[in-house]
Amino acid sequence: MPKVTIDGHTIEVAEGTTILEAARMIGGEVAPPAMCFYSKLKTSGGYCRTCIVKVTKGSEKDPRPMPKPVASCRTPVMDGMEVQNKTAPDLVDARAGVVEFLLINHPLDCPICDQAGECHLQDLSYEHGLSKSRYDFKRREFDKIDIGPNIKLHMTRCILCYRCVKVAEQVCDSRVHGVLNRGDVSEISTHIEKALDSDFSGNVIDVCPVGALTDRTFRFKSRVWFTKPVDAHRDCKKCCGRSVLFMSGQEVLRVSVRKDTWGEVENTPEGNPGWLCNECRFEKKSASDWTIEGVRNIDRHSVISQNKYLEVKNLKIDVSNQKLIGEKAHN
C-alpha cells in the first residue's frame, strides 16, 4: 500500500487512490477544495483547478518533484510521495489565482441566489478571494432557461464544472444536455432548449457547486438559513428515498439529497450513492409524505447553522476610492 505525506501528515492508502481522496481521509485543512470533482461520479474532476497541489517528491523510486502543480483529484498517489497543500505559499497564491479566474465572470448575485449559504464558490472566495475584483470589464451574461418544469438554469452563474453533465451520463437514463460552444462563452444547455426529462434529472441541482442549476419549486421561497433541515425517508420504488427536508413550520420548502462533509451525496447503508428521484424531490412536498427522523446535523461552520452569526465581524467598507464605471468605459 502506498504511503503518502500531505502537509506533513503521512497516511497509507489503497493503490489507485488520488491525492485528494487521501487528503480527505486525513481531513480538515489538509483537504484541498474541489469545485468540479465529485467522488460519486466517474471521470469528474480536473477542470476547475482549485484542487491543485504541489508534489515535492514524486515517489520513492523517482524522487524528482513534479514540474507543475497537479490536479490532486486526478493524480493517483505513489509510494513515498510528498505533497504540499496549505504549507506552500506559492501554491496558495496560485489557487487564489484560480479562484480569481472563477470569479471574474461570476455575477456575484448572492443576495438573490437560492444557492447562497450552501454555495461552494462562496466558501472558496471567502477563503481565497480578494475583497475587490481587478476585472473591470463587462461580465459574461446568458439568458435564464427553464429546463423542464422543475429546474432553472442560470448559466451566468455557472463555473463549467461538468458535474451535471456527468450526472446525466451516469445517473439519468439518457444524456440530453451538455456543453455547447467553446472558450469563455461555452454553456451548459440542452439542444433547442429541450426539457430535461429523466427520473433522476433533479440530482443535477444537488451536484451543482454554484447557483447555476436551482430548484424551481423552491425558487425565492426562502433563504436556506431560515429553513429547518430535517432528515427524512420514505418508501420509494425508484430511489433510496433518503432525503433532507428544508422545512418552515409544517411546510416542506425543498427536498434534497443528504450531503456529507465534502458537499457530496451520502451513501445509503447499502453503499450506493443516495440519489433522489424526481417524484420524491419535486412532488412529495407535504410532511405527511415523509417519515421524519430528526434534525439534520449541519456543520457548525455552515451559515445554515445558527451559531454562525455569533462569529460574524463587522465589515469595514472603504468608500474613499469608490468610483462609478460606465458600461461602455473600456469595451
Binding site: 477542470y47 507543475k68 502543480p69 472563477l102 463549467l160 451538455g178 467553446r182 472558450g183 461555452s186 469595451n331
Partner: protein, 448 residues
Amino acid sequence: MGRKLLTEHINVPGIRNLDTYRKHGGYETLKKALGMKPEDIVEEVKKSGLRGRGGAGFPTGMKWGFLAKPEGVPRYLVCNADESEPGTFKDRYMMEFLPHLLIEGMAIGSFALGCRTSYIYIRGELMYVFHILQEAIDEAYAAGLLGKNILGTGFDFDLNVHCGGGAYICGEETALIESLEGKRGNPRIKPPFPAIKGVWGCPTVVNNVESIMAVVPIIRDGGDEYAKIGIGKSTGTKLISACGHLKKPGVYEIDLGLPVEEFIYSDEYCGGIRNDKKLKAVVAGGSSVPILPAELILKTAAGEPRLMSYESLSDGGFASGTMLGSGGFIAMDEDTSIVKNLYTFTRFYHHESCGQCSPCREGTGWMEKLLHKILDGHGTLQDVDLLWEIQSKIEGKTICPLGDAAAWPVASAIRHFKSEFEEYVRNPQNIQKDRHYYRVNNINPELV
C-alpha cells in the same frame, strides 16, 4: 546548400499523382520497409534521432517504443494534420503537393507499429487538402499500395483521412483523439497517455505530418545517415515556414544547426528584411513560443551565434531564449508594434480556448480585453502589471499546453518590450488607430 530530403521533388509537375511520384522513387521505401522486421524500423527511427516536428520535440523513436502492445487489442497510428498555429504552414504545403509521401510514411509507420488501421486527422479549414489526400488515398488503394495484401507481402492496412471541425485545440493529441472518436474536442487528463489508452481506449501514437514524412528518408537512407545531418541532438532537416516582413517568405527545408542570421539574410533562404529595414523581433517557432528581440535571436545571451536547432534556440531558458516549436518563423521589422501583434495572438488563444479548465477559459479572455484596453489608449501601468500576473497564473495550471501557449507570448513580450507597453500607456495620443483586420470585411470600400 541544404539537403532536400522531403522537398526534393516538390516542384516536379504532377508529383501529386501516383505515377509521377513513383517515377521519382516513390513507394520504393515502402517496399524496402515491408521487407524489414517491424522492430528494426523502430530501431532505425530511434537511431536517426528524429524529434517530433509538431512543436514539443519529443523523440519520435522513443514515442514509438512506448507504445503498449497488449494481445488482441488493435493499435492505431494517427497523423496530426491539424496544423493551425499562427505562422505555421509547412504541413499544409507538404500535404498539398506531396500527399503520397505522407501516405507512404503512414504505411511504413503503421507496419512498424503493427497498426492495421490508421488515421490522418486534418484540420477542417483545409478542405481542399482533404480532397487532395482523399484522391491520393483512392489512387493508392487502386494500385494495391493500401488495403489488403500490400505489394504481395500479406500486410493489410487501411488508411482513413478524417476532417476535423477547424479547432486549434484539436491539435493537442488527446483532444484530437476525442474529436476523432466523434466527441467534443476537449483534451483528456493525462495519465493515461495515448500510448496506453488512446483512440477507443486502444494504444495510439500521434505524430505530426512532418515527422511521419521524415520516416521515409530515414528508412531509405538508414537512421545513421540521417543522424549525420544536423547538430547535437537536433538531427536531420526541418521545414521552416518563414513569414512576416521578409523578402522571400515561404517554406524552406533547412539542415538543423543553420545559423539564424544566415537563414534570415542569405539569398538562398529568406533574403533579408523587406524594404531593407532593420529586424526588430522574431517569433521563432509559431505564435506560442516566446518572442525574442533581434539582438537575442541572432546571438545568445552568451554572445554565441544562435542556430536553428532545438538546443540553441532554447539556450538561456525563457529569460533570453525561445523554442524551435513547430517551425513557424515570423520576422518583424522595426515598424512593427509588439503590442498590436501580441493582441492578435492573444485574441487567437481566447477564441481557441476549449473552455474546459478555468485558468485558460477565463484568463485568455481577460488578457485579450486588457490588451484591447491598452491599444485603445485607456490602459494604465497597473494593467501591464496585471497582464503579467494573469499570464503567470495561467502558465502551468491548465490541463493541456494551450494555457502555456497563451501565456508565453504575453510573458515574453512584457519581458523584452515593456517600454513599448509603457509608451502606449503614457502617450495614448500617439497611438495610430488602424483597423483590426477582422473589421475590414465589414467596411464599405467607398467610404475608405
